[in-house]
């Protein structure tokens, strides 16, 4: 069947069986490899994408469930060559080492600060508790998200001023 999704703001289609997982649709059919596969029991979150703005595990969603809906992957974070504050935060605070969990972490972080502009450390740790990182011990990921939240807040203040 033909499946059409709104991928990072642009309509993309491909033929796929109904059983095709969204993560495989993204990686294999659409050729976008920024979304990763880390496990086979829906536990690790490496496959996280935003579905209509909400973080979900794309390995536990059928591609066909995303038909006609908005999907955001890591490739959609930067706009017009400008980094998203979450990307800047991860770079500034050494929030990544091997980079494998990073796309998922950044998407969750971006969605988190969108809905909660001033998250506490507890709220951040709770918010990313569906995403496993083996390298960083999470300390700098928390800082990266805090950095992004602060940058967002500063920009909004500047905008208002």
């Amino acid at each position: 069947m033909k499946i059409t999704v709104n991928m990072n703001g642009a309509e993309r289609s491909a033929e796929a069986e109904p059983r095709t997982l969204l993560v495989d649709f993204i990686r294999t059919k659409l050729g976008m490899t920024g979304t990763h596969i880390g496990c086979d029991t829906s536990n690790c979150g490496a496959c996280t994408v935003l579905l209509d703005g909400r973080p979900v595990k794309s390995c536990t969603v059928l591609a066909v469930q995303a038909e006609g809906r908005n999907v955001t992957t890591v490739e959609g974070l930067a706009t017009g060559g400008k980094l998203h504050p979450i990307q800047e935060g991860f770079h500034a605070e050494h929030g990544l080492q091997c980079g494998f969990c990073t796309p998922g972490m950044m998407l969750v972080g971006a969605a988190l600060i969108e809905s909660n502009p001033h998250p506490t450390e507890d709220e951040i740790r709770w918010g990313i508790s569906g995403n496993i990182c083996r390298c960083t011990g999470y300390m700098n990921i928390v800082k990266a998200i805090q950095h992004a939240a602060a940058a967002n807040a500063a920009e909004k203040t500047a905008g208002v001023a």
């Binding site: 069986e17 059983r19 095709t20 495989d24 990686r27 294999t28 050729g31 976008m32 490899t33 920024g34 979304t35 990763h36 596969i37 880390g38 496990c39 086979d40 029991t41 536990n43 690790c44 490496a46 992957t73 890591v74 490739e75 974070l77 930067a78 980094l83 990307q87 991860f90 770079h91 500034a92 050494h94 990544l96 080492q97 091997c98 980079g99 494998f100 969990c101 990073t102 796309p103 950044m106 450390e121 951040i124 740790r125 709770w126 990313i128 508790s129 569906g130 995403n131 496993i132 990182c133 083996r134 390298c135 960083t136 011990g137 999470y138 300390m139 700098n140 990921i141 928390v142």
Partner: protein, 792 residues
């Protein structure tokens, strides 16, 4: 030379990105854009997909394999079995420990999850469908699930394919001095013992293992994209195992999603994918799933340890004995230096001045996946460090002493370095009391002991755990350290271009440790070329010098040394060029962070960029053009990072749950190239240690069924459980390392498990509880409390 500490000088230092600067990582750009290039991202024209059919039984004879239903599915190209491989003499392959391992099972399967057949098809989904239809006729046999069981007389012989093999023994190995140790025990005033089991756990990097094997049928060139921490070593071994000409093999280890030792062994999937590509003439991709990774690839630990310490009447350690029994699984495939069957376990004397030590190690086969040396272990140093630090805790309890006092009384004193240990190591440098004092101060130790006493009086359970580890990394000196015969030197090749920028190629291979930044920083420090102008390359055997790769924290001690040495070679060639440009004597040329001048005229400067340009345009007579060199560094010794970790826990009497309230980690890894990256490595290791201490476990039932073979049961801590670490540092440089650095990648995984467990024991020892084996789960704590009549 006085260091200029003005703001301007500091700003210049930061801009240069030399040693000590917390430079933001150069490699981040591709990862934050989702443009990391991992093995599963590789797509080649005509590429096929391979799925492995695995044994559901831990031990069984194979009566027959029927692939007809699988082959009937459209899109299936081939089903490879052991029988087919045997025709090409590929059914068995050598391991890194001198044993053999089945590539695909022929006579028997020897562990649950063992590779039995491989399906190659047009898509991953078709291959998976077909794999479910491969029918194997098994005759189950009795499974051997512990090494104790394996060594019992009459136990089923697992490796009966070896001629004359009538038992499950693998090796017997000893270190230290039995006679001196026996004498120490004979005159001891007190002996304290600890029997403990370090459970089977798994490195479980977030990216599983895999490869894309592309054998060009016309040219015979083999390009293998592979999750490899040691691409050069793997290439040489592939040439030997597969009989492919070595110069035609190119291994490309691209971006790796973590390694932690899991990507050092050669797995059957790599071999079959390569053979299949050769036979079919198309690229073949094999990427395992998580269950396969946990059930069949190189696990870690699974080590039974009996330790005992002899003490004199003053509580000083006079002798240490350790007897070890290792569960190596069905094939002895440890990735460790060949001369050391127990890795570097003989570092077990740790931070302590112990005049006599004797270590006896035995290894046994069981019906489980092969492995043992992995997961940031520094070659079994995790096990050794755990044993000594747990034993010292129990000694403190028996002596009625504060565990800090016991340690301070027995530390190797700072003036004793370099220190020759009773088990044969020469520790390069250390200041253990200093790290201890920093930790005590950061934690507020005395106040917490007061709090503990108050809580104890009210029946509340709170513990403070201490671990003061010394570990050993930097393998290693060629005459002592080799893997599969390849000496463990490492290499660096540096070329500076006419425009003054450079490219550094390394024999090591990052899996996230930030080499593209830290190694550029070494060059920046040595040559004065900004780190941003040094491009670092690793992982492609076609364009990097031969090296043994990255594991056991060896990159900085060995590869980092090679980098400093080769940079100094170029610096010195630069002096010849500078002398020519200044028309001065080379003996009068001075060099300071990228600036050449003549003695006495410091303001008349030629920069390294000027020199680089001249290397191609304006040379003295008789000097070869170019500014390039390669160094193969043979380290004179290992390095010995150390530290003191302290953990505070509170225990819920009703449920047995342990909550880590604080975790202070003071590390000394010598000179820190990039403090931010060093701290990141420590955060990661402390988290792995936390996982190992409290939740990570692979275990087996009586039939050899693997429990812990997926992420529902193999538990990796999330950001919510993981403690918030407080880091401190001391710096005691390594005297023999060119830049004084020791390496740090594994220190936290080595040192922290004992700190966590000691905290739990410290909370409970007043009740008479002196050991709980890892993982210290809530039910075990509850059972220990109940056994002493403690309830909520």
């Amino acid at each position: 030379m006085a260091v200029d500490t003005t703001e301007a000088a500091e700003a210049a230092r930061q801009a240069m990105g030399g040693i000590g600067v917390s430079l933001a990582r150069k490699e981040d750009a591709r990862f934050i854009h989702g443009q990391g290039h991992y093995v599963d991202d590789v797509v080649l024209p005509g590429m096929l997909h391979m799925v492995v059919v695995r044994s559901p039984h831990a031990h069984a004879r194979i009566r027959g394999i029927d692939s007809s239903a699988a082959m009937a599915i459209p899109g299936v190209i081939a089903v490879v079995t052991g029988e087919l491989l045997a025709q090409h003499k590929l059914a068995w392959m050598p391991t890194l420990s001198g044993d053999t391992q089945a590539v695909l099972a022929t006579d028997k399967v020897r562990f649950q999850g063992q590779e039995v057949a491989c399906v190659i098809a047009e898509t991953k989904y078709i291959a998976e469908d077909a794999a479910a239809l491969v029918s194997v006729d098994y005759e189950p046999l009795q499974a051997v699930t512990t090494p104790q069981q394996a060594l019992e007389p009459g136990a089923p012989v697992i490796r009966d394919e070896k001629e004359g093999k009538t038992d499950n023994k693998i090796y017997h190995w000893e270190a230290g001095d039995a006679a001196a140790t026996d004498a120490a025990f004979a005159r001891a005033a007190k002996v304290v013992k600890l029997s403990t089991y370090y459970p089977r756990c798994h490195p479980s990097p977030l990216e599983t293992c895999g490869c894309v094997a592309d054998l060009d049928p016309v040219t015979g060139n083999a390009t293998i994209y592979m999750t490899s921490q040691a691409p050069h070593a793997h290439r040489t071994l592939f040439a030997i195992v597969a009989g492919l000409p070595e110069e035609k093999i190119r291994i490309i280890s691209p971006d790796l999603g973590g390694g932690f030792g899991n990507k050092v062994p050669i797995y059957p999937g790599y071999v079959v994918a390569t053979a299949a590509s050769l036979l079919i003439g198309r690229p073949v991709k094999w990427v395992e799933d998580r269950t396969e990774n946990l059930i069949s690839t190189g696990f870690a630990r699974d080590y039974y340890m009996d330790g005992e310490m002899a003490l004199d009447e003053n509580g000083k350690f006079i002798g240490l004995r350790a007897h070890l029994l290792s569960d190596n699984g069905a094939f002895f495939a440890d990735a460790q230096p060949t001369k050391f069957k127990a890795g570097l376990f003989h570092i077990v004397t740790g931070s302590y001045d112990i005049p006599a030590a004797h270590i006896v190690a035995d290894g046994a086969y069981t019906n489980k996946a092969p492995g043992g040396v992995a997961y940031r272990c520094s070659f079994r140093v995790t096990e050794a460090s755990y044993l000594i630090e747990r034993l010292v805790e129990n000694i403190a309890v028996e002596l009625g002493q504060d565990p800090v006092t016991t340690r301070l009384n027995n530390f190797i004193p700072p003036e004793a370095f370099p220190y020759h240990s009773a088990a044969g190591f020469d520790y390069d440098s250390g200041d253990y009391p200093r790290a201890m004092r920093v930790a005590l101060d950061m934690l507020g130790y005395d106040e917490l002991r007061k709090e503990q006493a108050e809580k104890r009086a009210r029946g509340e359970l709170m513990g403070i755990g201490v671990a003061s580890f010394t570990e050993v990394v930097g393998a290693g000196k060629g005459k002592d350290y080799d893997i599969a015969g390849l000496r463990m030197f490492d290499s660096a090749e540096l070329r500076i271009h006419p425009t003054g920028k450079g490219i550094l190629k390394l024999g090591v291979k990052s899996q996230g440790q930030g080499h593209e930044t830290t190694f550029a920083q070494i060059v920046a420090e040595e040559l004065g070329i900004p780190a941003s102008d040094i491009e670092v390359r690793e992982g492609d055997t076609d364009n990097t010098p031969f090296g043994l790769g990255t594991y056991a924290s060896r990159s900085t001690p060995v590869g980092g040394a090679a980098t400093a040495v080769v940079a100094r070679k170029l610096r010195d060639k630069g002096k010849l060029i500078a002398a020519h440009l200044f028309e001065a004597d080379v003996a009068d040329i001075e060099f300071d962070h990228g600036k050449y001048s003549v003695k006495g005229s410091p303001d008349n400067v030629k920069t390294i960029q000027d020199i680089a340009f001249a290397a191609y345009t304006n040379l003295p007579e008789g000097l070869e053009a170019g500014l390039e060199g390669v160094t193969y560094y043979d380290p004179p010794n290992m390095t010995f990072p150390f530290g003191t970790y302290m953990v505070v826990v509170d225990i819920d009497k009703g449920t047995g749950q342990v909550k880590v309230r604080r975790m202070v980690a003071v590390d000394d890894c010598g000179v820190r190239i990039n403090p931010m990256i060093v701290e990141g490595q420590i955060h990661g290791g402390l988290t792995e240690g936390f996982g190992i201490a409290f939740m990570e476990l692979i275990t087996f039932d009586d039939e050899g069924n693997c429990i812990g073979s997926n992420f529902m049961d193999y538990l990796i801590p999330t950001a919510w459980e993981t403690p918030r670490f407080e880091l401190g540092a001391t710096v005691t440089p390594s005297p023999h390392h060119p830049i004084g650095a020791k390496g740090v990648g594994e220190s936290a995984t080595v040192g922290s498990p004992a700190a966590y467990v000691n905290a739990v024991i410290d909370a409970l020892s007043h009740l008479g509880i002196t050991n709980i084996d890892m993982p210290v789960t809530s039910d075990k704590v509850w059972a220990a409390l109940r056994s002493k009549g403690v309830t909520e």
